[in-house]
């Protein structure tokens, strides 16, 4: 996270000081107000119109009476300000949940230094703001503690306050870890008087320092005398790698288009499909050369998060971040036929699978991909690609013939079976670890009309259903690929599952014959079977920019057979309610024809890929633990536990991958998504 310095202003003074603070280089303007004084929200909205770049923080001392109205107002202010809003809300921790639920799509901080606030911030918020003892900054004489603190002897009261604040931040970080979010999920936000000295502020190890200033002189002094020392200071002891330098927008190479907070496009690029983010800068590249420039820029900011984005559907959400750099190659989205005879195509990472399917359809071809047309090529084709054609045609990566890769050192290389074979191996399953793919060459398959089915079956006995469906899938011809979706079972409510399947066979009778055993897995409530095209099935994505918020929480595993033991554990998971989405996709078949050491995706013997999605990582882990004895490994596209590289890659694969990484990305530039690097 970048160290950010903000001006904390009262609603009465904000309009007069905000633009000045921005000119002085304050990263944030925070506005607060007492309940019976000038209104902070109004003043902040005014400030939004009179500033351009500074982040805007609404510091609300109490939860609003109508949280939903605040949620709507926050969406408006965030949109009007070009995505600059953060909402900080204080008050009894028990009363804040409704506000945290209602305010979506903007970073949320909890204000307080009591254990309840710290815990809530750790579990649910993006920051913990520990206030000064006197909450209203106007009450602070600007230069009050300047002399005292220069000598290193802050008044006793403020020392006690600092101790309480840092205890709260530690507690919040612990709560975040317990919730499976990682300690850095919660920013440490502190308030300091304008008269504070660097020596007072540094020990707080803050990510965000809000300077409570009542006048321009206080802002001037802090900006001139203290801010430079804070920005220059290395990470404080005990707070490793929390403090990071800023991003110099002017240093962005001309080949790239930069989008930063405050830009009109920023709200459209900050988030991904599932995860909310607030990157410090998004660099859009439309050529391999521009990608190389972006990598040099990222390398110059070694302490910042760095994400690579193609289609923005990554489930771990690492194609956005907080305060870091995002390289967006979405513009590289061409789909071309290179050699019609060999069905050789070239696809840019920014293309979406729905577009690829549409482009290939006129040729009578299809390329095995995922199940959703909105997913980007770049993320999926570097990880695996488990979709509607998997059992017949294998994974997406099994069709890759060559990749154009920009390496960490800026070189653009072609990786195929003969040139950079190790890189080619790594790209197919761990591409995000070794470079940025700027073009993929695939062989497409001839695929005609397909059967496409959706069944709704009763799941009052979910374990029995799973076993029956699993057996039917394994017995089915390879033409058949599909998936099963279940939600939490609720007592007293009829439970059901959705079964979907594609049959790559243009003969309707063969389709019906292949599907009948699947539909018999449980009592059939509803069914829909059509003959259609792969492209029509993949035409299932909603357009528009990504609006993900918060942190996705998913768990993935691979399973050989849906045994009664596995099924019982899965049924228990569903009954516990910790997972609101549970899905099993079929693999096996052609996927298993490829030897495990052939690509960096090694889970070739599995017949099923399982994913569960929850809201609370701790609860989901507890429930997921029941599956552990019956499953093996994980698919990194489906899991948010970034440190589980040993599950993503079996030992031999991991060893080889580490070796490739050491050679192609020795500085671990690509480290944000299941990194096998040393950093």
């Amino acid at each position: 996270m970048v160290l950010q310095i903000g001006a904390l202003l009262t609603a009465g003074a904000a309009a007069g000081l905000a633009a000045h603070a921005e000119t002085l280089g304050y990263d944030l303007v925070a506005v607060t107000g007492a309940a019976d004084g000038p209104d902070a929200w109004t003043a902040l909205s005014w400030v939004a119109a009179r500033t351009r770049r500074a982040g805007l923080v609404a510091v609300l001392p109490r939860p609003p009476r109508l949280p939903a109205v605040l949620g709507h107002a926050a969406a408006t202010l965030d949109a009007l300000s070009g995505g600059r809003l953060t909402v900080a809300v204080g008050g009894p921790a028990g009363e804040l949940a409704a506000t945290l639920d209602a305010v979506r799509g903007v970073p949320l901080w909890v204000t307080g230094d009591d254990p309840g606030s710290a815990d809530l911030a750790g579990r649910r918020a993006d920051g913990l703001l520990t206030p000064l003892p006197a909450a209203v900054p106007a009450a602070l004489p600007a230069a009050a503690s300047a002399g005292a603190s220069a000598a290193g002897s802050a008044p006793a009261a403020s020392a006690a306050h600092a101790a309480a604040a840092s205890a709260a931040h530690v507690a919040a970080a612990e709560a975040a870890v317990a919730a499976g979010r990682g300690a850095v999920a919660v920013r440490r936000v502190v308030v300091v008087p304008a008269g504070a000295a660097a020596a007072d502020v540094l020990p707080l190890a803050a990510d965000v320092v809000l300077v409570a200033a009542g006048d321009a002189a206080g802002l001037d002094r802090f900006a001139a005398e203290v801010a430079p020392a804070l920005r220059a200071a290395p990470a404080a002891a005990g707070a490793p790698a929390r403090r990071r330098p800023g991003i110099d927008r002017d240093a962005v190479p001309a080949s790239l288009t930069a989008v930063a907070p405050g830009d009109p496009d920023y709200p459209r690029v900050r988030n991904t499909y599932l995860r909310g983010g607030r990157p410090g800068i998004v660099l859009r590249a439309s050529s391999a050369a521009a990608v190389a420039d972006a990598l040099a820029f990222a390398a110059a900011h070694p302490d910042l998060p760095f994400g690579v984005r193609s289609g923005g559907h990554g489930i771990s959400g690492r194609s956005t971040n907080h305060g870091g750099i995002v390289l967006d190659v979405g513009a590289l989205n061409a789909v071309e036929v290179l050699d019609e005879r060999r069905r050789l195509i070239r696809v840019g990472p920014g293309a979406r699978w729905g577009e690829v399917a549409r482009a290939l359809h006129p040729y009578g071809w299809a390329l095995s991909s995922g199940d959703y047309g909105g997913v980007g090529v770049g993320g999926l084709a570097t990880a695996g690609g488990i979709g509607w054609l998997a059992r017949r045609h294998g994974l997406t990566i099994d069709h890759l013939r060559a990749a154009e890769v920009v390496l960490a050192d800026g070189r653009t290389v072609r990786a195929d079976a003969d040139t950079h074979p190790d890189l080619f191996w790594a790209v197919r399953g761990a591409g995000g670890n070794v470079g940025v793919v700027t073009a993929f060459e695939f062989t497409a398959d001839p695929v005609g009309d397909v059967g496409w089915a959706r069944f709704v079956v009763g799941a009052d006995d979910p374990a029995a259903l799973l076993v029956a469906w699993g057996a039917a899938v394994e017995a089915a011809p390879r033409d058949v690929s599909g998936q099963l979706i279940m939600g939490p079972t609720r007592p007293g409510r009829p439970a059901y599952a959705q079964l979907m399947a594609m049959v790559d066979n243009a003969d309707p009778d063969a389709v019906v014959a292949a599907l009948t055993p699947l539909a018999a897995a449980g009592p059939l409530y509803d069914q829909q079977v059509v003959m259609t095209s792969y492209a029509a099935v993949m035409d299932n994505a909603a357009p528009g920019h990504h609006r993900g918020s918060g942190e996705p929480v998913t768990r993935s595993a691979l399973v050989t057979h849906l045994t009664p033991e596995f099924a019982a554990a899965a049924a228990a998971l569903l009954a516990g309610g910790a997972a609101h989405w549970f899905q099993i996709r079929t693999v096996g078949g052609a996927v298993a024809d490829v030897p495990p050491d052939h690509t960096a995706y090694a889970h070739r013997s599995a017949n099923f890929s399982v994913i569960a999605m929850g809201a609370d990582a701790g609860r989901l882990d507890a429930a997921w633990a029941g599956l552990a004895p019956h499953v093996d490994g994980l698919y990194l596209s489906f899991d948010t536990r970034l440190d589980r590289v040993a599950d993503a890659f079996p030992p031999a694969t991991l060893a080889r991958l580490r070796d490739v990484k050491r050679r192609y990305d020795p500085g671990a530039l690509f480290r944000d998504n299941f990194s096998v690097g040393d950093r």
Binding site: S45, W46, P67, V69, A73
Partner: protein, 301 residues
């Protein structure tokens, strides 16, 4: 045949569309550049396709210098009155006295309840609005000694500090159609702000609206002339006159002047998101209407 003699105001009723985000702000600036007196936004906090009206008003006020701004109308059940009063006062001070308070009892009861607002019967809405106005006026009356004290059935603010005071005498305009609400306007508000499109009998209903407002004012010992009559209108510029506010600018002026002279309307808020239409309204209709009205009004002393 009542003309209450107010100066005429010409305003815009701009859709606070959430996308594109800056569209309503650009239209506000266009309305100011065109020379209109007022820009207003509807307020439906439960409607994600629309901006939050208060946030937008605050932002748009900071992007303009001269034009006045108001909600049309703000939803009282979702805007607790003491908070609203302080918000209005804050913005009025920031904007140099350009804010008026358009307020209403809130139409969509289910949507309001879903947002956490109280579900009120029409009768209760009148009482709640009366209490709300009383709280707002007490908050604004910052120099008066003693705290705010309104122990209402629907809104209760007892013992809260007064202030801040707005920079100017903010007018409270209420969107209303029903007799009880109109009498409340006569008693306690500074203006009525209905939409012509919602009057079942059209223009002639205005006489009835006025009568209720006047009754309310007189019963409270106020001069009915103290209550401005505003009207949301829509129309179309066309080369030849076809219907009310459907014709050339000169005809619009005649139509509106008629509303002033016969029904006492003194503010016309045109519903349009077209900057060209707003420009014509300001440049052609407003001066011609003013001229027609001035010609008919008796000389003031």
């Amino acid at each position: 045949m009542t003309d209450y003699g107010h100066d005429l105001l010409f305003g815009a009723f701009v859709t606070p569309a959430a996308e594109p985000a800056q569209r309503a702000v650009e239209l506000t600036v266009a309305a100011e550049d065109a020379g209109l007196d007022l820009v207003t936004f509807q307020d439906h906090p439960y409607q994600p396709r629309l901006h939050d009206a208060w946030t937008l008003l605050s932002y748009a006020a900071a992007r303009t210098r001269r034009i006045r701004l108001a909600g049309n109308v703000l939803n009282l059940p979702l805007r607790p009155p003491a908070v609203l009063a302080r918000s209005v006062a804050t913005l009025d001070r920031l904007s140099g006295g350009r804010i008026e308070l358009g307020i209403g009892a809130g139409g969509f009861r289910d949507a309001i309840a879903a947002m956490g607002g109280a579900r009120l019967t029409p009768g209760e809405s009148v009482a709640a609005l009366a209490e709300g106005i009383e709280i707002i006026r007490q908050v604004w009356d910052a120099d008066r000694p003693g705290p705010v004290s309104v122990a209402g059935t629907h809104h209760r603010v007892v013992g809260a500090k007064r202030g801040p005071a707005p920079a100017h005498d903010v007018r409270i305009w209420v969107g209303a159609y029903k007799p009880r609400m109109l009498r409340l306007i006569g008693r306690a508000a500074d203006g009525a702000l209905p939409s012509l499109a919602y009057l079942p009998g059209g223009i002639t209903d205005l006489a009835e609206l006025n009568r209720h407002i006047d009754t309310g004012a007189e019963a409270a010992g106020r001069d009915p002339g103290a209550v401005r009559r505003l009207l949301n209108v829509s129309g179309r510029f066309a080369p030849t006159g076809r219907a009310f506010l459907d014709g050339p600018a000169e005809q619009w002026a005649e139509d509106l002047a008629g509303l002033t002279l016969e029904y006492g309307m003194s503010a016309f808020v045109l519903s349009s998101d077209n900057p060209d239409v707003l420009r014509r309204f300001a440049a052609e209709v407003a001066p011609a209407t003013r001229e027609l009205v001035a010609g008919e009004r008796p000389e003031r002393l």
